[in-house]
Subunit: 375 residues, 2 copies
């Protein structure tokens, strides 16, 4: 081969190489993008599968789960909407097998399924839309637990944290749902972008957000059910108290008083956030649950400290906030919990949204909570 090897030959080699890397992916000739958000807020999804018998689009968009249609090049497609601007999980069902969208790097971090995320912005930026405002930093770190090993944690520090070297900040501990990971609150929940935007608008106080991994793995296996199971709660409590909190306090400029500490969580992580927040009044005065996973027959046990002296609990708490959707499977149990809190005279704020047990609602709840915290 001479120096005159040309662009075309190189491109051929490059294609061979990409095929080699994309191990055994059938030759991907036709060029297309997926998903495509159109100017009228309809969305077109495409998936290449010349030999499939049936490809379905499954989304959390209302009326967004449909059969896809194949064209002569083997690309299946479907257009849905107009779609209400938000970020939605979706996947393709190819002859019964669920597949994330290989054209989309925006993947839902989860231990139980693989979904992709589509973002429809519409004409006006939403609270989670990435804009040209000062951005905080999302840090991936490890802390060490002798029992559980090197534990991953994702930490948001607000804009200006690095340069304002003597300022201290309040902290929100923010817990994911049962099969999610420490990345789900930023990648699907956009916690960092929501705070960037609310801080830029003067609506939220600058705060640190700590997003740990919520399962006491390897003690509690990855297929061991809800994070709010008693065994996991006990291990997580030890892990948080002995290793996570000291790690954060040593490595970040945090305000250490209880009135500067909040805890919130979604689903199984909401069960955890209520358990941790309500039973450790010396540590937290701001407690929230987003569609929290709870069992009625565990209410008394899991709320023991808070229920012992409701008047004192009301005095301890700067805010006790619960959000849930009317179509959420947890709604029925959460309503029972509301009734119990009412009967005990424990004060709380309830926020009932539309929708179900979704990360669209998580973003909404966080954006509402963030405006209330530390004020």
């Amino acid at each position: 081969m001479t120096l005159k090897m040309n662009q075309k030959l190189f491109n051929t080699i490059l294609l061979l190489f990409i095929s080699a890397i994309a191990i055994s992916q059938p030759a991907r000739r036709p060029e297309f993008d997926s998903p495509q958000v159109n100017s009228d807020n309809t969305v077109t999804f495409k998936f290449l599968a010349p030999n499939a018998n049936s490809v379905k689009l499954n989304t959390q968009i209302e009326n967004g789960s449909v059969d896809m249609v194949k064209d002569e090049s083997g690309i299946w497609s479907a257009t849905i909407g107009p779609v209400k601007p938000d970020m939605y999980p979706y996947a393709f069902n190819v002859d019964g097998i669920q597949v994330a969208d290989p054209k989309n790097t925006n993947i839902f971090p989860n231990e139980g399924f693989q979904n992709s995320i589509v973002e429809i912005t519409g004409n006006n930026p939403l609270v989670h839309t990435i804009k040209d405002v000062p951005h905080g930093t999302v840090s991936y770190r490890y802390y060490t637990s002798p029992e559980l090993g090197e534990r991953p944690v994702v930490i948001y520090t607000p804009p200006g944290y690095e340069t304002s070297t003597d300022k201290t900040y309040p902290i929100l501990y923010l817990l994911h749902g049962s099969s999610d990971t420490e990345e789900t609150w930023t990648k699907v929940g956009r916690a960092n972008i929501i705070l960037d935007n609310l801080i830029a608008q003067g609506k939220a106080k600058p705060m640190i957000i700590v997003m740990p991994y919520g399962r006491a793995y390897p003690s509690i296996s990855k297929s061991a059910g809800s994070l709010r199971n008693w065994d996991n709660l006990q291990e997580i409590k030890k892990d948080f108290l002995n290793y996570l909190f000291p790690f954060i306090n040593e490595n970040y400029r945090v305000k250490e008083d209880r009135n500067s500490h909040a805890i919130a969580g979604f689903s199984g992580g909401g069960g955890t956030s209520l358990f941790m927040g309500l039973n450790n009044p010396d540590m937290f005065s701001w407690v929230a649950g987003f569609a929290p996973g709870m069992l009625p027959n565990e209410f008394e046990r899991n709320n023991a400290v808070a229920f012992e002296n409701p008047a004192q609990t009301n005095k301890n708490l700067d805010l006790f906030w619960i959000g849930v959707g009317e179509d959420d499977f947890t709604y029925r149990v959460v309503k029972e919990y509301f009734e119990l809190l009412d009967s005990k005279g424990i004060k709380y704020e309830r926020f009932i949204s539309g929708g179900g047990h979704t990360w669209m609602n998580c973003k909404l709840y966080l954006s509402i909570l963030a405006e209330k915290l530390f004020k």
Copy 2:
């Protein structure tokens, strides 16, 4: 429903919920883990697909691509190895469709394909094995380019960076391959863990590693070929010089002299790192390519500054290092490049490994380079 709703009922609801979230994933009854690394370094992969006709395992492990076998519960499995300890990409091919492993959250960030990653450690930790040593921080940030928008960049700061508030550090700019993303160097290349380990052993100097997104998207579309294409190089050069470098210099405690700046990259990003490093001697004195993507007919143009005065170039460079595998598709062109450098009298270090155009080799090359930098 009364307060006596029991665990079993709740679990049933929880299962329904998980099914709802895992939109249309067929009911996932059998419990199993995948991948499973066995004590003899064999690895068992499993995939649930009761109705599939054929499931194949495709890996970058030698002899690791095999037909899988279905059991009576609809789980396909294959055991391969013993496998040489390392981290390998893999995927399942289900009736012709490539699928990442839904049981594995360790996903290869890439715009062209979806692979999972399996890690085989063996009896002794490797240079990329997560150990109980002081860990640096991996930060996800955005910088703003008026032309290209909010640009993502991943930044490694070494252990102690946050607490040693007056120390300054050298920087390695580290570029991914053509269909990779800003996350690939940490998630697949384990750049952060490699540095944590080498720093703990006193083998590498503490340094900052800056891992930008290498495509000038949206100017250069995500399907526009190699990162080292001329159009992309021009846009990236503007982006780096005008926005990325100032962002890093303003926000991090960096040594600003050229002898404290290195640039390296893989594949298309290797073409970029040589182009940026060799044409900007005022900025970089350490330049490296890992299986760099290059075209012989572009050698003169892309190396114009370095080739103009080879003696000066040799004087400028603290290190010019190129690593490539004997089975790599770039090897033939890289050899031509070596011959050209030799004919011009430009000094460089070459490192020829076994293996191909893989991230196993990327980790090897980075671990070798990191021990040489800034010494």
